[in-house]
Symmetry: C2
Subunit: 120 residues, 2 copies
DNA sequence: TCTTTGTATTATTTATTATAATACAAACCG
DNA sequence: CGGTTTGTATTATAATAAATAATACAAAGA
């Protein structure tokens, strides 16, 4: 899976990496059990420091999306056993998005249509 | 309107202020044309630096939510004439939220229900 | 004139982010 | 066994962002 960063974004690189991998898992481009690039390999490919990639992997590991093995690298977890509820961070982010939507006059129905597109 | 900040949040104070004011506008706690607290007043009330509040107001002004007057302070804009579409930032944030929701097994229907709650 | 408003300026401190250069333990490979 | 590759730890440094502090200014109302 191609991971590209936007150097002009105000989102830190390590978070952009984390976000893209989570997105890849969610849309199936990364399968459960699939091998991720090595820390050094991805760092070189992206032109960033390997510790920056490591930071992203540490976060993904802590969040339960991946696991790592000293020898075998990082893999997507086979069973992503999360609770079927949004995290606190996501709920707050969603509230911010919806507050903007309301101000812009986007109806609940239209908003759900937009969500549907992201759901595919 | 009460503006409270979470000092343990990883969101900068000036953004927390900005977010709460946008939220207040969206749910009607702040009405169009309504006077906002003064920069210095709000800073003292919240126990933060006045330049931090000023930074939030600058952002809100730039985004088109409020306007300021050297003598009369800051007010919510009467006509919030935004395009009826989400900003790029909001769309990206929504995509991140939905990617997490999908991984957690939350269906599109359940997600729309959650959105409905935020819409009131 | 005095006060209050947002704003500008300058400096300093703190925290975060990113890079750099190594090093280490574990485990696989030939 | 020796060499290589893996994630990880360490230490230092640089760059940037965030927050505070202390003033000062122009505008405008009382």
């Amino acid at each position: 899976m191609i991971i590209a960063i936007n150097e002009y974004s105000d989102i830190p690189i390590y978070l952009q990496i984390r976000n893209q991998i989570v997105l890849g898992i969610s849309d199936g481009r990364l399968q459960p059990g699939e091998q991720l690039p090595t820390v050094r390999g991805l760092a070189e490919e992206m032109g960033v420091n390997s510790m920056t990639v490591n930071k992203a992997y540490q976060l993904l590991k802590q969040e339960g999306y991946i696991y790592t093995d000293r020898r075998n690298g990082a893999k997507v977890r086979e069973q992503l056993n999360f609770s079927p509820e949004l995290s606190e961070e996501s709920r707050e982010a969603l509230q911010r998005v919806i507050s903007e939507a309301k101000i812009r006059g986007i109806t609940k129905e239209d908003f759900c249509k937009i969500c549907g597109k992201f759901y595919e």
